[in-house]
């Protein structure tokens, strides 16, 4: 067998394997979205076909938009996710700067203390967190969720950002000091803009678990006014188990925003992972 032919066969095998797995990864999602645009009869008679003139129907979406307050849930999820990311980035970058820039007693201990949370999941403290939120009257508020998610995101943010901040040139900061800039100005004006790519990576890493979390919304903020999309979809589907149109449409609505964000930011995300943040 010639070398060229064996390499064709090899690349054929590689594409077969990767393509096969891609199909396995995408097919379930495709199936749900495609069937959400069909009437009930179409869903059951020809689940694998794209919606056509006879089976097309928006009845599922109409039910969902009439019954559930999905816009409200979206708003809650957006508020919680955006504010948490903002606080994680701001406070995380400040702490990372302090740890990477100054030598002081207890620096290493402080770094280790903050890194504990990377491996120990915050969920294990739920019993006492709920107790604390009840005591401070924060149950069923978005503030409770924002506080928890900020605490959850900080350890990894401090860890990644301090790695990057060590690489910022010391000459630049010292030049700033010679010019009489305060430490705060040096941080906000000189250092922060330079670590922007790392901040974007941290933002994406922080965002996914917050948007997708079911545990804390279920326990800390299950009221109608504070439900997030994940919890809303979970409870709505639970109620409408037998209404297949509504279930499929709810799932599609929950997939859509994540899918759009992913297609926009997937490069950033993949570059972040492959940049050696975890080595």
């Amino acid at each position: 067998m010639s070398k060229a032919r064996s390499s064709v066969a090899r690349s054929g095998f590689v594409h077969l394997a990767l393509g096969g797995y891609t199909l396995l990864a995408l097919f379930p999602i495709f199936l749900v979205v495609a069937n959400s645009f069909k009437a009930r009869a179409g869903i059951f008679s020809a689940p694998l076909q794209l919606p056509n003139a006879t089976t097309f129907s928006l009845i599922g979406y109409q039910t969902v938009l009439k019954q559930g307050d999905f816009l409200g849930y979206f708003q809650n999820s957006l508020i919680v996710t955006i504010l948490s990311i903002f606080l994680v980035l701001l406070f995380g970058a400040m702490a990372a700067f302090a740890l990477s820039e100054y030598r002081f007693r207890g620096n290493t201990m402080m770094g280790l203390y903050l890194a504990l949370g990377i491996m120990i999941p915050i969920r294990l403290g739920t019993v006492a967190i709920l107790q604390g939120m009840v005591a401070t009257g924060l149950v069923n508020t978005l503030t409770a969720l924002i506080l928890v998610y900020t605490a959850q995101g900080l350890p990894l943010a401090v860890f990644i950002l301090s790695e990057f901040m060590r690489q910022v040139s010391a000459d630049l900061k010292n030049a700033g000091r010679v010019d009489g800039l305060s430490e705060y100005t040096i941080f906000f004006r000189l250092v922060l803009p330079l670590v922007r790519p790392a901040m974007a990576t941290v933002a994406v890493f922080t965002m996914i678990p917050i948007w997708n979390d079911l545990w804390f919304p279920l326990i800390l903020a299950p009221s109608e006014a504070t439900k997030t999309v994940t919890l809303g979809a979970q409870m709505f589907i639970g109620q409408y188990v037998t209404n297949w149109n509504a279930v499929l449409s709810t799932l599609s609505l929950a997939i859509l925003p994540v899918l759009i964000l992913y297609l926009i930011f997937s490069r950033q995300l993949i570059r972040g992972i492959t940049a050696g943040a975890v080595k």
Partner: protein
């Protein structure tokens, strides 16, 4: 570094208090301590107390004795722990090898459509457990019939069954759905590790006639062992506090007949209460403490034993 870092003792003594360090650290440390560390400690403390006549009294390790030995609790606990172990083992045996294989294929030189495959295979990982759980519940549902239809195409229809409804197969099915969702994480981390192997190493191997399979097993695999270690410990921690997927697919009771109950769902039912069961804070804290100790043991084993034995290569 600041210029104050001199070794001259006089300079250190005269150094003014650098308030800005405190200001930079304070917000992160305060929130982290108040919302994460203190509740964790409080949860550990609560596991040593129990409520008798509306009063919290110190009971030592009695809660643990009840959890491990009293039939009302221990049957569910050991069942959940056993299921959780199976859940973890299935991830280690199925998810990580397939993840490594996909990463190895993706990192081959001159591969067309690389970006597309990478983006597509990672997509399920960013979806929430709720979405993934319901999608697969629908697909595996005998009512809809998509799964039997697809199996018919490959002449395997006779093997189809209502897997989620049978105690013998439900746990494996849920675990495989979780594998389907999470496979992107090992794939990406190992893909990154494979990319960071310098070309010279690969070229040297090729000069010595080491190519293809043997190149992967003899050259690349030893070099990515540290990453495989990280992936394993991430899988361990993730699996032992998993909850969402089982809750979504099988409900808080983790049926049928508790066959998919893992520590996360057991903790939820215990401390939050469910249906006729009233929430029990002390026992909830006890279960959380056990989970904490399990995760701590796993992480310590990794940090102090496995990570130190793995050879690292510096390039």
């Amino acid at each position: 570094m600041t210029t104050i870092d001199t070794t001259d003792p006089d300079a250190v003594a005269k150094r003014p208090v650098r308030w800005h360090i405190a200001v930079f650290l304070a917000p992160a440390v305060l929130i982290y301590t108040a919302v994460m560390i203190l509740p964790l400690i409080e949860t550990l403390r609560l596991s040593l107390f129990n409520v008798v006549d509306n009063q919290s009294i110190f009971v030592g390790f009695d809660n643990f004795k009840v959890l491990f030995g009293d039939d009302r609790w221990s049957v569910s606990f050991w069942n959940a722990l056993k299921n959780n172990l199976v859940f973890f083992l299935i991830h280690m045996v199925v998810q990580n090898p397939i993840g490594i294989a996909l990463a190895a294929l993706l990192s081959l030189p001159v591969l067309r459509l690389r970006g597309f495959y990478r983006t597509a295979i990672f997509l399920p990982t960013i979806l929430s457990f709720v979405i993934v759980g319901f999608i697969w519940k629908l697909i595996l549902s005998p009512i809809w019939g998509v799964a039997p239809f697809l199996m018919d195409l490959v002449w395997m229809k006779s093997f189809f069954g209502p897997w989620l409804g049978k105690p013998a197969s439900a746990l494996v099915t849920v675990s495989l759905v979780s594998v389907w969702q999470n496979i992107g994480i090992p794939m990406m981390l190992i893909y990154a590790a494979l990319l960071s192997i310098p070309d010279e190493v690969i070229e040297a191997a090729e000069c010595d006639g080491v190519t293809g399979w043997s190149q992967f097993f003899k050259i690349k695999l030893p070099l990515i062992l540290p990453t495989i270690g990280i992936v394993s410990i991430l899988t361990f921690v993730g699996n032992f506090n998993a909850f969402d997927l089982v809750y979504t697919m099988q409900g808080a009771l983790a049926g049928p007949d508790g066959s998919t109950d893992i520590l996360g769902t057991f903790l939820y039912r215990t401390f939050f209460g469910f249906q006729l069961q009233v929430g029990d804070r002390s026992m909830g804290a006890t279960i959380a403490t056990v989970m904490f100790l399990i995760i701590l043991a796993g992480v310590s084993l990794y940090l102090f034993v496995i990570q130190r034995r793995i050879r690292r290569y510096q390039f």
